[in-house]
Amino acid sequence: MNASRTNPFSTRFTRPGRIAPLDGGGEEVDAAALLVRLAAVGGAAAIIGPHGSGKTTLLGHLADAIEATGVTVMRVRSRGRWGATNVLFALVRAGRAATVCVDSWECLGPVARNTLPIVARMLGCGLLVTMHLQSRLPVLARCRTTAALLERICMTLPGHDAWYGTVITPDDVEAAFARHRGDIRESLYELYDTFELRSRTVEMRRS
């Protein structure tokens, strides 16, 4: 791969699933401990946090960890007009002892948010969701972000030895984090643009 032309902040390197979930301090999340906690609260819980705080990343990671134990996992995005119906179908199809993972739970209406956990309990199905604010579901994890976390993410991106500290500096990371008020996704988008403009400017000067 031509590494000099690859933007390390591209979606293919930063999308949920590519980076291991990290806590606010930049340390790797203990998925096994969270699964124990999920079982302790009855198999239904929520991951909460603001936009771009890593909820979807953590949900995907936990879904993989649950799947690795042999449990059937169904993943649903609840956006769109058929969101509640999709979740209901997933619960019915998944059945007993399975787990349904729902991203963007707050996109469902209040009736669905109140009813679907009851349906899940009746079917004996686990339910793990992401949302911005606390609801009736017990909280499994609260995602929070720090500039140190964003810096740690940068250090996991491809070829960071070649560009971190030169094309993208720690000051850029801190500024992006502050400008987007802790939204990691938006900060990474900004760093993508910064990387693209600076690396091209350098190339243009060379030519």
Binding site: M1, R5, N7, S10, L197, R200, T201, M204
Partner: protein, 143 residues
């Protein structure tokens, strides 16, 4: 614990050679690729997947199109220490490689090796199709 479990996992080395060392092609051209898989630590190769595809790279949704795919699982073609193979494909008219600011289109060859025991390894090698000039940064002057 067995020797196999004690042994650290080392990625195999996959060398890919294109028929054009510059890796520059035009739409409709034939791309010939030869690859060598080495340093498998004696692990037996179960199958090799050869593919030629394009994908978008940028900061939004991603897209991908597989132009050619072949799975080789013939035991006679899988020596334990090294595997050599080749494949070719004729390129379509589009998409052409493009180096944009918010989106890039890349063509690549992927060789994916499956070892017995469920371990697999993917190697990706980019090449260029067409002569679309890269996007340039334009600095707008405010009036």
């Amino acid at each position: 614990m067995s020797d196999a479990q004690d042994r650290p996992v080392v990625s195999p080395r996959i060398d890919v050679q294109f028929d054009r060392p510059q890796r520059r092609y035009q739409a409709g051209d034939r791309v010939v690729v030869r690859y060598t898989i080495d340093e498998c630590q004696g692990d037996r190769i179960h199958a090799v997947e050869q593919s030629m595809l394009w994908y978008t790279e940028g900061k939004g949704e991603e897209d991908l199109g597989v132009h050619m795919f072949r799975r080789v699982a013939d035991p006679a073609m899988m020596p334990p220490r090294a595997a050599v193979g080749d494949f070719f494909a004729h390129l379509p008219r589009s998409p052409l490689s493009y180096e944009g600011l918010i989106v890039k289109v890349r063509w690549c060859v992927r060789v994916r090796v499956f070892f017995e025991g469920a371990r697999d390894y993917v190697s990706e090698h980019v090449f260029e199709v067409g002569d679309v000039p890269p996007a340039r940064v334009v600095h707008m002057r405010s009036t």
